[in-house]
């Protein structure tokens, strides 16, 4: 007989016992769990058992096999009832036969204890007063590995616990079907920072089958007040792989992929393929609008969240032609317009709240539960604790919708660095040159006439002389200082400034 199975009909314990017979065995021990007429002060009239069969059978068989090996018994089996049971019915039966009684008793005890701890079975009790309630008492969800001390001086046995979703399966709206749905879902999380951390924690905890993480950044000490999953000692490491490691530790059942790169127009479609849902946990409009375009292109839903100081916005873009997209709401938004977390500051729990909301909405979306509507934006002011749901409309002249309909290529995000073969090419692309080198360097290797000179040391004070909308190309010897300068100017609102990738050195090399 199979070591562990479920039965929808009454158990024939005599027949079960017969199957345990073996001529090499000198002893047989069995345990029967019965339906009793009370539980925690309630009078019980009958019971219903429900199991997540796929997982439960596997785990039950593992337990029986563990007992056989551990105690060296000859035969062992366990049968559990599912369905409706009356008072006195046998709910669970364990039988063990062995050469000697001691192993038989102990293996029997081990099996019933472990089944109660580890096998996902739920019990609905019907009380005399007409009430009923699902009880997860069959399983003790223990944090961390739990240790069983067995009598007779045996070494303590430590087993690695398996993920336990009983507390969410107990919800009527989730149930075993919902859990199976989450398990077969695949979610892409873009950004493993303040929003991404709670998102990944909850989605991994909930047992979403596959999680992909994109983040190009490395952990910095200034991240930790809001990205509290990480450790100070891990600063300098890639956030995508730190997050992936933690997802695996939290839930080994989740298949997780880490991509330490920035989403761009070339990789976006490939990276998003095969996912049911995309969560935007990024901190810049370039990425957000790229994801928005992708949603409209592929019809894949994207849940956007953005925070600022003590508040944030949440929006679901369905990717259809009828409902509002991010561009319908923000036709003019671009990076550098309002401050990010670095400049404007943010209180740690603020992205925590919004990441949690994103995770909540994502789970509801996967489970088919009601939530944020496609034409809605949720704004939550965490200073006054006031929330608003604002209705947005699909704008007839929306640029993103128009582009998606024409199947034009995805727009590249406003890259900070651009590469040119020569300065002449850059000039013909409409760039005004800004030399950020010091005077000595500039005299040794001057740029063409018309180039502005804004050495790094004077960047911030002299930036006021630049035009906010100017198309500037920042240039230095190797591209490092100019990239830093461009980043700084972007954050000051100079949305169109770029850095020459590789600097003058690269031009010469390629010339």
């Amino acid at each position: 007989m199979s070591p562990f199975r479920f039965s929808t009909s009454a158990l024939d314990t005599v027949a079960l016992q017969r199957q345990m017979r073996d001529e090499s065995c000198g002893g047989f021990a069995s345990f029967e769990g019965w339906v009793r007429n009370h539980n925690e002060g309630h009078a019980v009239t009958r019971l219903e058992y429900e199991a997540f069969a796929e997982l439960a059978e596997k785990e039950g068989a593992r337990i029986v096999e563990e007992a056989r090996v551990k105690y060296g018994v000859t035969r062992a089996a366990c049968v559990h009832r599912v369905g409706s049971l009356g008072l006195g019915d046998v709910a669970v039966w364990v039988g063990v036969s062995a050469a000697h009684r001691d192993e038989a008793f102990r293996a029997c005890r081990f099996i019933i204890d472990e089944v109660k701890h580890r096998v996902p079975i739920w019990k609905k009790e019907h009380y005399v007063n007409g009430d009923s309630g699902w009880v997860n008492c069959e399983r003790c969800a223990m944090p961390g590995a739990h240790t069983h001390e067995h009598e007779h001086g045996h070494h303590p046995h430590v087993h690695v616990p398996t993920p336990d979703y009983s507390r969410q399966i107990a919800l009527r709206e989730v149930g075993p079907e919902g859990q199976a749905r989450l398990r077969s879902s695949s979610v892409l999380v873009v950004g493993a920072g303040g929003l991404g951390v709670p998102v990944l924690q909850y989605l991994a905890g909930a047992g979403v089958g596959r999680l992909s993480i994109i983040d190009a950044d490395r952990l910095e000490p200034s991240n930790l007040h809001r990205q509290t999953w990480y450790a100070l000692s891990e600063c300098g490491q890639e956030k995508s792989s730190l997050a992936a490691t933690r997802v695996r530790a939290l839930n080994p059942e989740v298949r997780v992929e880490a991509h330490a790169l920035r989403l761009d127009a070339h990789n976006a479609e490939r990276l998003c393929a095969g996912h049911d849902l995309i969560l935007d946990c990024s901190d810049n409009f370039a990425t957000k609008f790229l994801l928005n375009d992708l949603a409209l292109r592929t019809g894949k839903p994207v849940m956007f969240a953005s925070v600022y100081q003590y508040e944030g916005q949440l929006q679901l873009v369905r990717g259809d032609n009828a409902s509002a997209c991010l561009r319908c709401v923000w036709p003019e938004a671009r990076d550098g317009l309002v401050g990010n977390c670095a400049e404007a500051g943010v209180l740690g729990p603020v992205p925590g709240v919004f990441g949690s909301l994103q995770a909540l909405e994502a789970l509801k979306l996967l489970l088919g539960l009601p939530g944020l509507k496609p034409d809605e934006m949720l704004i939550f002011d965490l200073i006054t604790l006031s929330t608003q749901r604002l209705r947005a409309r699909r704008q007839p002249e929306c640029e993103a919708h128009r582009r998606a309909a024409s199947s034009a290529p995805l727009l590249a995000p406003e890259e900070l660095e651009v590469q040119f073969g020569s300065l002449a090419d850059a000039a013909s692309a409409g760039f005004v040159f800004v030399d950020v080198r010091d005077t000595r360097e500039r005299e040794a290797e001057p740029l063409p006439a018309g180039a502005l000179h804004l050495p790094m040391s004077k960047l911030l004070t002299d930036a006021a002389t630049l035009d906010l909308a100017g198309r500037y190309l920042l240039i230095c010897a190797t591209g490092k200082r100019s990239a830093a300068a461009a980043g700084l100017l972007r954050s000051q609102g100079f949305a169109e400034c770029r850095s020459l990738r590789g600097g003058l050195k690269n031009l010469k090399a390629s010339a």
Partner: protein, 82 residues
């Protein structure tokens, strides 16, 4: 044009510059644009109206939308922090 009472809420940079989250004020502004112009002068808002959105009675609206007594007006800039 007679003055009416309007409830206004500010978000993000506007909240910072106004130094408050919301207020109820009496204004002669006929539409959302006039109201923003009036408030921009009062609080020295740096953002031009093109860079933000106005919502009237829980619906994103147009700047030309006329205001009536008791309207709840929200000014929201785009934010991208994560």
């Amino acid at each position: 044009m007679s003055e009416r009472e309007i409830r206004v809420q500010y978000y993000a940079l506007l909240r910072e510059q106004a130094g408050r989250s919301d207020e109820t004020l009496t204004t002669a502004a006929r539409d959302a644009r006039e109201l923003y112009t009036e408030l921009r002068a009062r609080y020295s808002f740096t953002l031009p109206p093109e860079m933000l959105r106005v919502a009237i009675n829980a619906e994103f609206g147009e700047w030309s939308q006329p205001l009536k007594a008791g309207d709840a007006v929200v000014f929201i800039p785009p934010v991208a922090g994560g």
